[in-house]
């Protein structure tokens, strides 16, 4: 049932967003991956997930904000259809709890990876205006530090902010674009700063691809 509703939602998302899809120097694969992308719209994870080949969709879980996706219909979509990993966002929790919340989030992501899933994450942590890719939060680095065997795949999403921008609830069917780039090449002892810089550059590089 949930697989069916997910397929229906994916089909709707593809119809609405009409994404053209490019895989640049990378191929779809069942290898365990973390797809990380720029974030401009609530549609982002739905569209990114829906353009993956069907076989990969069932093993790929989006990571989404609990405060948005944890009520009513959204909750059902996030839980049943996408098996989203719902996480607390830093700014919504109390100052003292931040460290604990971050640890908790990391554990959730590692747990999902442990179960053999791939993940879709948006390291900016919040939706941008679609012009610039904001700075990445460090969570993605900590995931890599614990699971360096997983491939980190940059993705650039364009025009989704024009389909459903921040603060709007009615979509407009503009044609979007999803570009997958080659997995990050990382040293064993990569520092947090250089990891985040490389990850950020990899996403930005796909903008013109």
């Amino acid at each position: 049932m949930s697989a069916l509703s997910a397929s229906i939602i994916a089909a709707c998302a593809r119809t609405l967003a009409g994404p053209s899809i490019r895989w640049v120097n990378i191929r779809p694969s069942t290898r365990q991956r973390v797809y990380f992308a720029n974030h401009t719209s609530h549609l982002d994870f739905v569209v990114l997930w829906s353009v993956l080949p069907r076989k990969l969709r069932s093993m790929t879980r989006p990571v989404a904000a609990k405060d948005y996706w944890n009520s009513g219909l959204r909750k059902r979509i996030a839980h049943n259809a996408f098996h989203a990993v719902l996480i607390e966002r830093g700014r919504k929790t109390l100052e003292g709890d931040r460290a604990a919340a971050a640890r908790n989030t990391l554990e959730q992501l590692l747990q999902a990876l442990e179960e053999g899933n791939s993940l879709i994450v948006f390291p900016e942590g919040t939706r941008g205006d679609g012009l610039e890719v904001g700075p990445f939060k460090s969570g993605i680095y900590h995931v890599w530090a614990r699971r360096p065997d997983v491939q980190f795949v940059p993705v650039y999403l364009s025009n989704l902010n024009r389909i459903l921008p921040k603060g709007e609830f009615l979509p407009v069917p503009v044609i979007s674009r999803v570009v997958f780039g080659p997995g990050l090449k990382l040293e064993k002892d990569e520092t947090k700063e250089s990891f985040l810089r490389k990850a950020h550059e990899a996403v930005c590089a796909l903008r013109e691809a």
């Binding site: 009409g18 053209s20 899809i21 490019r22 205006d129 025009n159 902010n161 024009r162 921008p165 709007e168 009615l170 979509p171 407009v172 069917p173 503009v174 044609i175 674009r177």
Partner: protein, 323 residues
């Protein structure tokens, strides 16, 4: 009302399908023999056009079978596809969002609904009057003043070409022409044949003897030789097809001349927009999308004129104009 598949329609459809099969085979043979990059891309372009025609024929065939209501739906969908390509290509801002929603989900369906209901008076002014006023009002309400006039004009033009102009094609099905009842699908078919084949003729003439460019800054493959040769052949074809229209051969001649001229103008104008946006095709920047607007640019411009001329002839009630 549904249209009956009469003998003439049958003949025309088979003729077109036969022609397309030949064109497809030629395109296939050419693409196998192509050597240079330039030739390859020219042949790819040709094959894309042929594919577009197949789709167009399928659309017209379906609209013929399902009658005006279904045709309106079908063309409304085509309008949405065209408008979507257009909007994706031009830049719009965050403040335009609500107006874009109105364009896609209010004005487009309303335009087609009005034609379907036969509410001629409002259908012909909905977009050029009311939408044109509504767009700047809605943008003003959105409160963003940067590039105001520019943004308003972009949306107005999108609605004009992609919705208003395209809607005139199925509107032909709603015309009430004495002595031609139930046969309007042939009129639509006539327009499409004249305009599309006209485009193909121009292309062929340009390839054969084209030298003097008409507008080198806009479109390198439009030459005077191609234009005149194409126009002459198209008008000859249109006149020869008078029997499928409600007109006499003389009127078929003038109508096909008008349609072919506007088709040429449409294609030239849309090329200018594409040039301005720095692309060759509406479809090319967005792979996986067929370039609906690339195929329809000539029809967009010729349909309104063709419609109004036809209506004028039939409403003015000169029986001698008809067979």
């Amino acid at each position: 009302m549904n249209f009956k598949l009469d003998h003439q329609m049958f003949l025309v459809l088979n003729g077109i399908i036969g022609g397309l099969v030949v064109a497809r085979l030629v395109g296939f043979a050419l693409s196998r023999g192509a050597q240079s990059e330039e030739r390859k891309s020219a042949i790819d372009d040709l094959n894309a056009r042929i594919r577009g025609w197949w789709i167009m024929i399928a659309i017209f065939y379906i609209s013929f079978v399902i009658g005006p209501a279904g045709s309106m739906l079908l063309f409304a969908f085509v309008s949405v596809l065209a408008l979507r390509e257009y909007i994706s290509l031009i830049s719009t801002t965050r403040a335009d969002h609500r107006m874009l929603f109105w364009s896609f989900f209010v004005f487009t369906p309303l335009q087609y609904w009005l034609w379907y209901k036969g509410w001629y008076g409002l259908a012909v002014i909905l977009i050029p009057v009311y939408a044109f006023l509504f767009v700047p009002i809605r943008l003003a309400l959105a409160g963003e003043t940067t590039g105001f006039l520019d943004r308003a004009a972009r949306i107005q033009w999108g609605l004009m070409v992609c919705v208003y102009c395209i809607s005139y094609a199925p509107a032909l099905l709603t015309l009430n022409i004495p002595g031609y009842e139930g046969q309007n699908a042939k009129l639509l078919m006539f327009l499409v044949i004249v305009v599309q084949v006209g485009e193909a003729f121009q292309y062929v003439w340009t390839k054969l003897i084209g030298k003097r460019k008409i507008a080198p800054n806009i479109s390198p493959d439009k030459t005077w030789e191609g234009f005149i040769g194409g126009l002459a052949t198209t008008v000859a074809l249109g006149t020869a097809l008078w029997w499928m229209t409600p007109f006499t051969p003389v009127h078929a001649l003038f109508l096909s001349l008008a349609a072919a001229l506007m088709g040429f103008a449409g294609s030239l104008t849309m090329s200018a927009i594409k040039r301005d946006r720095g692309v060759k095709d509406f479809g090319s920047t967005i792979d996986g999308h067929g370039g609906t607007l690339d195929r329809l640019d000539s029809i967009c411009f010729s349909a309104p004129l063709f419609f109004h001329l036809t209506r004028w002839i039939s409403v003015s009630g000169h029986p001698f104009l008809f067979r």
